[in-house]
Every structure is written in C-alpha cells, then in structure tokens.
C-alpha cells in the first residue's frame, strides 16, 4: 500500500517533468537539447548538445563572433554533484556582411557539452539549460530558450537511437582537432603578426580557402582580408593586429581552417592552433601575396611576377655556372661582328623558351592524365633526380677542365652546347633551364602554383614569361653594344672563374643525391655515386692516347660500357621501394607504419581469399585529410580495439611518391588520389569503398557488421 502510494506519487511528479520541453522554436531558430545517451550511468560522463536549426541566410555565432555579434551562451541548472563542461565549438564559417566579418554558423549546428552526472545519482538526471543566442542576417535578434531534459539512470549508459548518434558523430567531425604541426608567429615592425604553421611537405595546389579564426577578440583583427600562402615548407598567414591595447601577446590561439582537394572531392579541415611568439622571426612589413587565391592574381600580374622570377633565377646557385659559361663565351665573341653577337643572344633565348615550352607541355600532359600537378612533380621520379645529378657532375668536370668538349667527344647531350654558333647557344639555353629547375622547385613554389592551377594557355604564358626573364639579361647584352663594352676583356681570369664554378655545380649534384636518398633510401646513393665513378672512368678512358689505333677502339668500347652501366642504375631505381618524404618537402614526418603492414596487392588478395577481414588505408605524407582521419578515426583506442577484436589485417599503402602499384589500383577503382579506404568483410568477393571522411563509429560499425 505504502509502496503503491509512493509509486503513484512518482508518476505524478515524473509526468510534468517529462512534459518539459527539450525543443524551443523561435522566429528564426529551432533549438533542441539532445543527448547521446537515453540512460545515464552514475558518475560516467556523456555528451549532450544544443542543436540550432537556423533559418536560411541567418546565422548564430562562434565563441569569437568576429566584428559584431555575440556567441551563444548556455547556463546550466544541474543537480548537486553534476558538472557541465564548457561548449566544444565546431569550426566556424566566415560570414561577410557587407565587409563586416562575422564568425558563426548557418543552417544546422550542434554545440557539444560534456555532462558528468554525480556518482551517487539515484533518480533520473534532470538537466536544465537556459540558452541565449543572437541570430542575424542583416538584422540581429537576440533569442533565448529554456530547456529541460530528464534522463533515466541505469546500470550502464544506454546509447540514444541511431539517428541521434549519427548526429553526434557528424558534429564531432566538424570540431577542430589539435594541430598536428607546430605553429609560431612573428611580429612585423608595424606590430602585425604573421602566423606560420610548420606543415612541411604539403601540396600547395591541393589546398584552398585557408583561414585563421582567432579564438578571441584583441590580438588579431577579423575585418582584414587574409591571404595565406601554402608552400611545401608550410602555411603562412600574414594577419593584421587587433584592437587590444595590451602589450604584444606571447601566444595567439585560434582555429585554422582549410579545404583540401582529395581523390574524390574536397574536404574542409579544421585545426586548433596555439602559436608561440618567435622573437627571431620578423616578417617584412609588406604583406606577402601568394597564389593561394587564384582570383587575387590577374594574368597580367602573374606574367610580371613570372618575368621577375625568371630574372632572379639568374642569381640562383644552380644556374649561374651555366650563365657564367655564357658570359665567358660573350667575352670571347667580343670584337666579332655585332650580327654574330645578336644571333647568339637570340639563339640562347630561343633555347630557354623552347625548354620552358616543353616544360609547360609536360605539365599540361601530366595534368590531363593524372589530374593535378605540383611544381617539383619531376622530383617524384628518382630517375629524374639521378640524371640531373649526373648532368651536374659532368658539367662540373667540364668546368674544372678535366675534359674539353669538341675533340671528337660527344655523346652526352651537353656536348652540343660547345658547338660553335647558334646551335651551341641554343643548347646552352636549354641547359640553363634544365639546371635551373631544381632551384625553382622548392623556392618558387608559390609563384609557380598560379601557373599550374590555370588553364593551359595561361600556364604556357606564365612559364614562357619566366623563361623570357631568365634569358633577358643575355638577350639585352647581345643587343646592346654599350653594355658589351663594359664586359671585362678575355684573359686568364676566365679560366680561373670557370674552374671555380665547378664547385657550386658539384654542390648542386650533392643536393640532387640527397633528394634521391629521400626517394630511394641508401641504395640509391650507392647507385648514383657508383654511376658517377663509371662516368668519370669513361671520360678518363676517352682522353687516353691517340685516336685511330686498336687500343683507342677498345677504350671507346669500354667507356661506352661504363656509361651504359651508369645509366643501368635507372632500372635498379625503378625497382627500389619508394619511401616517404617527397623531395621538395624536406624532412617530412612521413607515413607511419606502426601497427600496419605495408600494402601489396598480393598480400591483400591473399588475406581476403583466406576469409580474413582486411582494411586498406591508402595515404600520403602530404594528404591532410588522411592525417585527420588517422587522428580522429583510425588510431583511436576504440578503433584499435575493434581492429584487434575482429582480427582485421591492416594494410597501409603509401602514395607519397605515386607508387605505381597503388596508382594502378586507384585507377581501377576510378579514384584520382588518396585518401582511399577499402574494407574486405570476411569472405567478401570484393572490397567496399569506405567514405573519404571517416569516424570511429563508422569504422567500428563496419567491422562489427554481419557478426
């Protein structure tokens, strides 16, 4: 009787409590307090969210609202011992209201809050929240809602229905992850900070819409336009200082947002960044403008930029030995007729332009077949690196005077450059471009990014402008007798200068071998250095004794064999496994194989045929989406446990260097690139292609399906 009474009492009390609303509808927002669990376990934290479904074109605000507006606030009323953490904010979007910049949310947003119920919770957990938010389109309306949610208590937390869980899963995906890269900032003399995120090895032309959302009002102005530049060395964002009058900050916090073009689509990624002041880094006052925003650079500007870039290329250590050779040739020509001089200059310019034209054609061809191309693409090929290293070495030997070209010795294409007259000048131009490319790759990536992202005619125009810039000083020299008179007289200094120039040439060869080492590992270095010895040996043989005798023929045969052997290294390199660290990226973090087997098609089909579940992760060191998937979905404790429990064979394919086996598989599956995730359910005939954006829940449910 007594028990019945208390039961009735409980029902009467619970009735109105359950009727309390978790949904509030205002003029502009439908707001709902939702929980990821339908029953809570005492003491065990769980997640709730304030979900705002916002009228089209209206927006609510992020924790830093930007130039105007106010963030949504939630005030909790909780039973004693319960705790609500601060809101975990999703990455905001930038909303431009006639030039006033707001940071906020449109359409649908979940503001996540972690709730910890008391350990001694007996009855249902009563959550009460007073929320207020400002919602604006061009006018602003403050709105509010009172929410109540009662959650029954149970022995274990019970997950909410699948739709609600999917909602939370999606919401977590748009919460920024901690930045995988260190960040720092420097202050210009004006006090404007420049943020640098040391994300090495990125592919600049796959990254767009880079924006830094400062976490708070004060240190950084939100109204100023941001023009970020992305290079293989990292992301650089010149900012304007904000209105806070306090002394310069020692750190700047915020959220870095970018869009990455991946194998099949575009992914928006967000990272929480805390940048420390780097006192040694003083950015120049003028904002560095780069190619990140294609529209901001008109074609005319790009052409000027390219011309200037080409001119400056003349000063690069890789190029100036060749140009010094050219200068010496000019000095020798001094006193000849002016027309010979002019012909020489024009032929040289033609050589440069043809070489740049060929490069543009290669870029366009690669883009048509692979879909995207990054400057430095040629360095993804170890063969190219090896051949350029050889070329540098041989040119160095020639400069040093080990051999002279012309005495019947041809065979290496470079011999053409010594031919007299226009042909020689033409090939000197080609050679100048070939030796210039390694210098352009890492150091002018930003400038070239524009050319590569444009349609074919623009690409050609920009590259040709760069070539014209490279040729311009010599063209001008050959056309202007006044300048020619200023050239020093030919003499012994020319030989000495020439010999000296062998050293920077060899230094460039060393650098190319380092690049090769990144691509192929120590084996490649052995082949390259061995090849150089063979080439040197061949040259030595050819210079021995007089021509015409039997011995001379024998030596020629041997030399040819040695050179062939040196070039045979190319075949070995092709077999060698490609490793991480793209050439232009310098010391990259690379792809980690911890807990994963290296992918091979044989291993995959064998494991799948044996009826084992197989998970394949195709990734690359430069792929940001891959990195984020690893951090939020693939390498979480929950996913690892699920992999282990199901005995899944985990294979990882590294596409950093466009491994041909992986390329062919991607092509079969109709993919242009990574990330790509395949899952072979136990006994499955064919793999399932998983979404490009992974969540822990998605993987776990995939692994546990059909069991």
């Amino acid at each position: 009787m007594h028990r019945l009474l208390s039961f009735l009492l409980a029902v009467c009390l619970a009735g109105p409590a359950l009727a309390q609303q978790s949904v509030v509808k205002t003029d502009n927002v439908r707001a709902e307090l939702v929980s990821e669990v339908s029953e809570v376990k005492p003491g065990e934290p769980f997640w709730v969210a304030l979900r705002q479904t916002i009228k089209p074109h209206w927006h609510t605000y992020w924790k830093n609202p930007g130039d105007s507006g106010l963030p949504t606030e939630i005030t909790w009323t909780l039973p004693a011992g319960a705790k609500a953490d601060p809101i975990v904010w999703p990455a905001p979007t930038l909303i431009d209201v006639s030039g006033v910049i707001n940071y906020g949310f449109q359409d649908d947003v979940l503001l996540l809050v972690k709730i910890t119920p008391p350990a001694d919770l007996a009855g249902p957990l009563a959550l009460k929240a007073d929320a207020n938010w400002l919602v604006c389109d061009d006018v602003c309306i403050p709105e509010e809602g009172k929410f109540a949610l009662d959650l029954p208590v149970g022995a274990a937390a019970k997950p909410a229905d699948a739709n609600t869980r999917a909602l939370f899963d999606k919401a977590r995906r748009v919460v920024p992850t901690d930045s995988p890269w260190p960040a720092r900032f420097g202050l210009a003399k004006s006090g404007d900070p420049t943020l640098v995120v040391d994300a090495k090895g990125l592919k600049p032309d796959t990254i767009r819409n880079v924006y830094f959302f400062p976490a708070e009002w004060g240190p950084v102005a939100s109204m100023a336009k941001q023009t970020a530049s992305v290079t293989a060395e990292g992301i650089r964002i010149p900012l304007k200082k904000g209105d806070a009058k306090a002394a310069a900050p020692s750190s700047i916090a915020g959220t870095l947002v970018l869009t990455e073009k991946t194998g099949d689509g575009e992914q928006r990624q967000a990272f929480d960044v805390v940048a420390k002041l780097d006192p040694a880094f003083v950015p120049s006052a003028a904002p560095l403008t780069a190619s990140n925003e294609g529209e901001s650079l008109s074609l005319v500007e790009a052409l000027l930029f390219a011309l200037l870039g080409g001119l400056i290329l003349n000063l690069m250590p890789c190029v100036f030995p060749v140009l010094a050779m050219k200068a010496a040739a000019f000095a020798r020509l001094a006193g000849h007729e002016r027309s010979a001089m002019r012909r020489d200059g024009i032929a040289y310019t033609a050589g440069v332009l043809v070489a740049f034209g060929a490069m543009a054609a290669a870029v366009i061809a690669i883009r048509a077949t692979i879909g995207e191309v990054n400057w430095g693409f040629q360095f993804q090929s170890p063969i190219f690196s090896l051949l350029v290293a050889y070329l540098f070495f041989v040119v160095g030997l020639n400069l040093a005077g080990v051999f002279e070209i012309g005495g019947g010795f041809t065979g290496i294409g470079q011999g053409l450059t010594a031919k007299n007259g226009a042909t020689g000048a033409f090939f000197t131009g080609v050679l100048a471009v070939v030796v210039a490319t390694p210098c352009t790759a890492p150091f002018m990536a930003a400038a070239l990014g524009f050319a590569l992202s444009q349609p074919a005619p623009q690409t050609i125009a920009v590259l040709l402008a760069m070539g014209l810039g490279l040729a311009l000083p010599y063209l001008a020299l050959s056309m202007t007798p006044a300048l020619q008179r200023m050239m020093p007289r030919p003499g012994a200094w020319m030989d000495r200068l020439r010999q000296f120039l062998a050293f920077p040439m060899w230094a460039s060869a060393v650098w190319m071998i380092w690049v090769l080492a990144q691509q192929t590992g120590p084996d490649g270095v052995v082949y390259a250095l061995g090849g150089m010895i063979l080439i040197a040996f061949a040259i030595w043989l050819l210079r021995l004794g007089s021509a015409g005798t039997l011995g001379a023929w024998l030596r020629r045969g041997l030399a040819a064999a040695a050179v062939l052997l040196a070039f045979a290294a190319v075949l070995k390199l092709q077999d060698g496994p490609a490793t991480a660290a793209s050439a232009s990226g310098g010391p990259s973090t690379g792809v980690s194989f911890d807990g994963w087997e290296r992918f091979s098609r044989a291993r995959m089909t064998e494991a799948a045929a044996a009826g084992k579940p197989v998970f394949v992760d195709f990734t690359a060191a430069w792929c940001i989406t891959c990195l984020v998937n690893e951090r939020v979905a693939l390498e979480t404790p929950g996913t690892r446990r699920a992999f282990e429990q199901t005995g899944t064979v985990k294979l990882k394919g590294d596409w950093t260097n466009r491994d041909p086996e992986i390329s062919s598989l991607l092509k079969e599956l109709g993919r242009a690139g990574v990330p790509l995730y395949l899952y072979w359910a136990p006994g499955a005939e064919r793999p399932k292609i998983l979404p490009q954006v992974l969540t822990e829940a998605a993987i776990v449910s995939e692994l546990q399906a059909k069991r």
């Binding site: 105007s68 602003c140 806070a244 009058k245």
Partner: protein, 211 residues
C-alpha cells in the same frame, strides 16, 4: 647556400607584393593617432566637421534605433544619461546614423528628430551618414560603436559602450561604463586606461555602401 636562396625568395615575393597589396574598403582608426576627419549634416541641416570642433572633446556614437543592443542602452536610459552628463561637461556628443538607405537603422532628418524626442535623447547633434562615410573612416563594425576624440583631435578611445556584451537591460548597472570612465580621464587630462575595448552590438548596416 640555402640562406642565400631564402633571401632571394623574400626579395622576389617582396618586390612582387608591391603591386599586389589588397585594397580594403575600410579604414581603421588607431587610438593615439589623429582621428579621421569627417563632415556631415545633422538632422536640422547644419553641417558638422571634426576640424571645426578642435578644442572640444567629441564623442561619436553609431546608432541603429532598431538594434537590440542600441535599445538596451536607450531603454535603460544609460545612453541618454551619459549624453546629458557629457553635455554638462562641454563635451560634443554626436549620434551618427550610418545605415545605408533601405537598411535597418536608416533615418531621414525628420525621423531622426522624432527619434531624439521619443527617446528623450540629448546628443549635441544627430548626424546623417547614409553613405556610411564616417563609419567607414573609423572602421566601425557595430551599433553602438563608441569613439572619443580629445581636444587636440586625437582618437583616445574606441570600442564598446560598456563591459558586458549582452542585450539584457539588467546588465547595465553591473557593467563598467567604459565611455564614462574614459571621458572623465580625458577631461582630467589623464591618459585613458582602457583605450580600446571590444565593441559589441548589431552589425553596422553598410548595405551596398561598402562595396
């Protein structure tokens, strides 16, 4: 070797940047520097220019009568009280309507006078800035956005009216009234301690003016 190259790159980008500096539609006003000049008619047709106000302390208040944050400070009488205090101390308080025509907060001369009467306001003048020229010169982003210019024409304060960014009238007595504090300091010849604070309010309605 690499050091040399890096310098070259900076040279390259730096020289190219000169031609590519982005143009902003907005100016910014810096505390401690000369306040941007302006001249505009008030609701009675009188022209006001900052240059002619030299020797007097000037307050600028951007206004949009339908913005909840402006209403907060008029409904609580906070704004009008401070306008009267300022007038009593010889300060020239200018309310500025910078909303573009067709946007919320745009007023005609007659509407502005009616508004002052209805709100019991006491500004020295209600300036009409339908092309948002004043707002743009000062880089104003919200209503109310507050500025104080000292007798020598130097901007000495910019930011919010007070310290609690909300639309709740009940917060007014709890907040530090930044403008009042700053005005007292300026009139006493002292430096302003909180000279730049976070402005809060509705987005200033530039409309197509800002383009």
């Amino acid at each position: 070797m690499s050091k040399v190259i890096v310098q070259r790159r900076v040279l390259l980008l730096g020289s190219a940047a000169a031609a590519l500096v982005p143009v902003s539609a907005f100016a910014t006003s810096d505390v401690g520097k000369a306040a941007p000049a302006f001249s505009a008619p008030d609701s009675n047709g009188k022209m006001w220019s900052l240059a002619e106000l030299k020797g007097k302390v000037v307050v600028l208040e951007t206004s949009n009568q339908d913005c909840p944050y402006v209403r907060k400070h008029y409904n609580s009488a906070n704004m009008q009280t401070q306008q009267r205090e300022a007038a009593a101390k010889g300060v020239v308080w200018l309310t500025v309507a910078s909303s573009a025509p067709g946007e919320q907060g745009f007023v005609t001369a007659a509407e502005a006078n009616e508004l002052t009467q209805k709100r019991n306001g006491a500004p020295a003048a209600f300036l009409l800035d339908p092309q948002s020229k004043i707002a743009r010169a000062y880089g104003a982003t919200v209503t109310p956005h507050m500025y104080i210019i000292d007798a020598s024409g130097v901007l000495v304060y910019k930011g919010g009216i007070d310290s609690i960014p909300s639309s709740n009238v009940a917060d007014v007595p709890k907040a530090t009234q930044y403008v009042r504090v700053a005005l007292d300091q300026v009139l006493a010849g002292k430096p302003v301690t909180e000279a730049s604070t976070r402005p809060y309010g509705c987005t200033l309605k530039y409309g197509n003016n800002a383009a």
